[in-house]
């Protein structure tokens, strides 16, 4: 069944002439989705929301390209791909997600083009980041942004950077590798992004021990479920009584499935997609996969709702939340056990 509504929406986004129009579309569309929050199936809703984000971001990128041309900077000297990391890369953005972005562009054959490319993409990425900020996408606090030269490079430069990270698996490098593992081209030459990913997975195969470091890097976020299977809400401060869904459930599960997927060489970036592929690769039994899918879908829903106060959640949702968290904890300890088996404890 064709999704008339989203086709319609994409047409309207495509027809936008400026950022003002784009912003009003974002606001109106998110409002519609927000109303369906409690009634819709959460993976479907997250999917639609992320198609919306992709559409808005792509359009903003194209508007920036046009704007630069109008100001006399010409067209992009070489092909490029605009990358999303983090929840954007995983197609799991919420209504209020930050920008986590990067840029990869083709290597030039001559020095002149190389210099022009560098100048062009510096201006270009700054324009895009500013536009997105205007559209209501806050800046990433960790400065993972295309406007930051560390995340805006030619394909070769990217490859060198990855090699450096793989060669020196310090805490920071491993964090960057984990960020890169979720990279996805939202618009532009997707072939460039694919080549980058190809290099990532080749290097990963050459450095099998990096998986152990990746696990250690993510262990500090534990699934927030107590000894008795109880919820562990915040005890103090203005968020007292709420459950930290992001760091107590969502992030640990994302980390676990990312690691399982990366280990199997699965290149999907979305968590649900990773679970699907893991099942196909028989790294998860069908029961495990089903449990994981349900748990993660529920966590996605909770994350969209925002502040979760168990006392106001009602019995049914509380039970589901506890079940999901327990499933999350199970996958975390399964992963830890397997890694310990492979690499030994430390």
């Amino acid at each position: 069944m064709p999704d008339f509504e989203s086709e319609n929406r994409l047409r309207r986004i495509a027809g936008c002439q400026d950022l003002e129009q784009l912003k009003s579309i974002r606001i109106a569309e998110q409002q519609k989705l927000e109303e369906e929050l409690h009634s819709s199936d959460s993976p479907l809703l997250v999917n639609r929301l992320n198609k919306l984000h992709d559409g808005i971001i792509s359009k903003a990128v194209h508007l920036a390209e046009n704007d630069l041309a109008r100001k006399g900077h010409g067209a992009p000297p070489v092909p490029y791909a605009y990358l999303l990391f983090g929840s954007g890369g995983r197609s799991e953005q919420t209504m209020h997600s930050d920008q986590d972005s990067g840029l990869v562009y083709a290597d030039s054959l001559d020095a002149g083009t190389a210099e022009r490319s560098r100048t062009y993409f510096t201006q270009f990425s700054e324009a895009v980041v500013d536009s997105l900020l205007f559209l209501g996408y806050p800046l990433c606090e960790g400065k993972v942004l295309s406007s930051n030269a560390d995340w805006r490079m030619t394909l070769d430069e990217w490859r060198n950077k990855l090699d450096g990270w793989f060669a020196d698996p310090s805490w920071e490098s491993v964090r960057y590798l984990l960020i890169t593992a979720d990279a996805r081209a939202v618009t532009g030459d997707t072939g460039l992004a694919a080549q980058l990913q190809e290099h990532f997975y080749n290097e990963l195969a050459n450095h099998p021990s990096i998986a152990g470091r990746m696990l250690e890097n993510t262990l500090r976020h534990k699934v927030l479920v107590g000894f008795f299977g109880q919820l562990l809400p915040e005890r103090y401060g203005s968020d007292a009584g709420t459950v930290d869904i992001k760091y107590g459930a969502y992030i640990p599960m994302v980390n676990a499935f990312r690691l399982l997927a990366v280990r199997e060489g699965i290149r999907a970036t979305g968590t649900l997609e990773r679970i699907e592929k893991l099942q196909q690769a028989r790294a998860l039994s069908s029961e495990e996969a089903e449990e994981a899918r349900q748990a993660f879908a529920f966590v996605l829903k909770m994350r969209l709702i925002g502040k979760i106060i168990p006392a106001q959640l009602g019995r049914e949702l509380t039970v589901s939340l506890k079940e999901s968290l327990k499933a999350g904890r199970k996958i975390q300890s399964k992963l830890q056990g397997e890694m310990k088996h492979r690499f030994g404890g430390r």
Partner: protein, 454 residues
């Protein structure tokens, strides 16, 4: 060198022959001397517990109040000593009251003048007994300060020290230890779970209710903020000092060396403390997902507080159980007071109050026949064939002493609040009591860095 020494000794022997050929001390005198040494040492250990309170209270509060919190402990111990010497000791142990009045308060021995040495037939010199008892009164007072922390005016500390050391503590100590009406009922409180700890905690409760919570502890929407202490190492060291001092507190309370029974008391004390620390760490980890240090430290103290009443009355296994239960209890108690919107910065209400009540009641369950006979107070507990009688007496002493201590402290502080006010101004509280009450910070460099806004 050796030659010179021998000549000197020889000369001295000729000059003072009695030094070498003094009459041998009698067995009673030896006994008295040993007791005196032990009680003196125990008294010093209990006085050293003030060091524990200084570190515990300072570590659990903020930098801007550190000098005040630490310094006021020394000042109030000094003031307490004078007041207790002048009247407090007399109200506790004075023997001049008539039979009816003596049920409620002792009279005599005011401006106490101890003899130069132990009298004929006395087990220890009364001077040493006084030092020992005074150290207990000072501990009870320092427990009460938990309820005043970080917001009471210095003058309030002064007034309350006088009233507490003169009347509130002596009256309760008299009831249970000074031959008062609860002693006559056979209330068992070996080293003062009720007399020292519950009394102090009740005064803290009255104070914290009247003072109201510290600025920033509770939000308008009812949620709670965590006001973390500035030095967890101080807090832990404070607990260790208290723990060590507690050997004087409990084992010293046997007031004799004799057959070595004080060793058994010390043994039980260690087991109770250990049980409290372990149980509190486990319960905090199981229920909150975090192995919380503060909870564990409170657990160790709660174990000590609880075993204080029962250390001479129970078997070692029961000491472990009493400690374990105290460790769990203190965790829930702290949550309870927080829920009731009662600000208890040093956890005095939970550590000394809740655990003090539990420790006193525990005698009613676990006191054994053999040990009750040895100590010579009350009946065996419920689990040792004594029926519910001792439990009832314990319950009665907790309720009556708790109620008296609370009512008296509340009354005094209420009057002070009406007449002078208890609390520093909002501005003073924000810049810190170090500056407002004493004129300089305990950590001058650090506080300047924060622009006095901390």
């Amino acid at each position: 060198m050796i030659k010179k020494t021998l000549i000197a000794v020889g000369a001295l022997l000729i000059l003072f022959p009695t030094m070498a050929f003094a009459e041998d001390p009698s067995a009673a005198q030896l006994n008295m001397g040993l007791n005196a040494l032990w009680i003196m040492m125990a008294g010093v250990l209990v006085l050293l517990m003030q060091g524990g309170f200084i570190l515990l209270e300072t570590g659990s509060t903020r930098m801007k109040n550190a000098g005040h919190v630490a310094g006021k402990t020394i000042f109030t111990v000094g003031l307490c000593s004078l007041v207790y010497w002048a009247v407090g000791y007399g109200f506790t142990f004075g023997g001049d009251a008539g039979e009816v009045l003596n049920k409620f308060i002792g009279i005599g021995s005011f401006l106490f003048e101890p003899g130069l040495a132990a009298g004929e037939g006395e087990n220890y010199p009364s001077s040493i007994f006084f030092v020992f008892q005074l150290a207990f009164a000072a501990v009870s007072l320092s427990i009460a300060w938990g309820g005043f922390a970080e917001r009471a005016k210095l003058s309030v500390y002064l007034i309350f020290t006088v009233v507490f050391s003169a009347v509130i503590y002596p009256v309760i100590a008299h009831w249970i230890w000074g031959g008062g009406w609860l002693a006559a009922d056979g209330a068992q409180d070996f080293a003062g779970s009720t007399v020292v700890h519950l009394t102090g905690a009740m005064a803290a409760l009255a104070a914290t209710i009247l003072l109201k919570p510290r600025i920033g502890k509770f939000n308008k929407d009812g949620s709670v903020n965590e006001i973390l202490g500035h030095n967890q190492v101080y807090t832990a060291l404070g607990v260790l000092l208290l723990w060590v001092g507690w050997f004087g507190f409990n084992a010293g309370s046997w007031l004799a060396v004799g057959d070595g029974f004080f060793g058994f008391v010390a043994f039980n004390t260690q087991l109770g403390a250990a049980g409290g620390a372990v149980a509190a760490m486990l319960i905090a980890w199981m229920l909150t997902g975090k192995a919380d240090i503060t909870s564990m430290l409170n657990g160790a103290l709660a174990g000590l507080v609880a075993i204080t009443a029962s250390c001479a009355y129970v078997d070692p296994w029961a000491a472990v159980v009493i400690g374990l239960i105290a460790g769990v209890l203190v965790f829930f108690s702290a949550k309870f007071f927080e829920k009731m919107k009662i600000d208890d910065p040093i956890y005095a209400l939970s550590v000394h109050g809740a655990a003090g009540v539990w420790g006193t009641l525990a005698n009613g369950f676990f006191a054994t026949e053999e040990l009750v006979t040895k100590v010579g107070i009350g009946q065996p507990g419920l689990f040792y064939g004594g029926g519910a009688q001792q439990l009832w007496v314990q319950f009665e002493s907790v309720v009556v002493c708790g109620a008296f201590a609370f009512a008296a402290a509340f009354g005094v502080l209420w009057i002070v609040k009406r007449m002078f006010g208890l609390r520093v101004t909002e501005e003073q509280e924000i810049i810190g009591l170090d500056l407002s009450e004493h004129g300089s910070y305990g950590y001058p460099e650090q506080m300047k860095k924060t622009g006095m806004s901390a």
